[in-house]
Amino acid sequence: MERQVGDRTILDKFTEEFCEVIEKYCKYIICSGFVAIAHGRSRGTEDIDMIIEKIPFEKFKNLHEELLKKGFQCIQPGNTEKLYAYLKDGVSIRYVWKSKSFAPPEMEVKFAKDELDEEQIKERQKLPLTGMDIYFSSIESNIAFKEEFLRAEKDLEDARHLRIIYKGKFSEDKVNKIKEKIKIRNGKQQKFEKNF
């Protein structure tokens, strides 16, 4: 879809600039709320969720330095080693455009934590209806995560919005398969939490 001047939101600009840097270093996906917003859901969000491939420290260091050069700042304090340790521990690191006030929007970056995340990255796609030149997780996985895992009212509404937009164009079977995997993941997590 061709974009027209004036058709880009601040969120679009922020996300595209950020993704342009990330893509040089690793594969990524944008998932969760922004997927629905990029498809016209009329609701606000402060943060955009990104999952990236696990990368070695050196590569992360270069990526982080380029983000800083391009006008972003990480809102967590600490050196690159510390930020990398956050990612390795499954904690997200968060970037905003450089400003004293750390004002939104914010990109929340996480390493892929398991097979399910890796699979999402593998099946990433550009979604022409958004008019954005970035990679998203699949429509099926967005619907599945929103309906099976996140389940807040806004998430269920996002899922419904995507279902209407892509009516007849996505695989319900695939949604159900991803939901099954989410259930397994949740089960493992609960078991883990119970033991510790």
Binding site: M1, Q4, G6, D7, R8, T9, I10, L11, I37, H39, G40, S42, G44, E46, I75, Q76, P77, G78, S99, K100, S101, F102, A103, P104, P105, E106, L129, G131, E153, E157, R160, H161, I164, I165, K167
Partner: protein, 66 residues
């Protein structure tokens, strides 16, 4: 508080508009999305000018201390 049926109907109406008008929906949404970000930025900017502002921002944004 649960939202009533008219809210659901509006979600449906708008989603159908987006689906059926791929070149029109975005322009309608830009001021709405940008407005929220601009309001938020203005607020954070004002907070930085208050004595406890930076501390409040750190709490709001869950920014850990060094």
């Amino acid at each position: 508080m649960t939202r009533d049926k008219t809210h659901e109907e509006q979600i449906e109406r708008w989603a159908e508009f987006v689906r059926d008008n791929p070149t029109e929906w975005k322009a309608k949404l830009v001021p709405f999305i940008d407005g929220q970000i601009l309001l938020s930025r203005r607020f954070y900017e004002k907070l930085t000018q208050t004595p406890e502002g930076m501390q409040t921002i750190k709490e709001l944004r869950r920014i850990p201390s060094v």
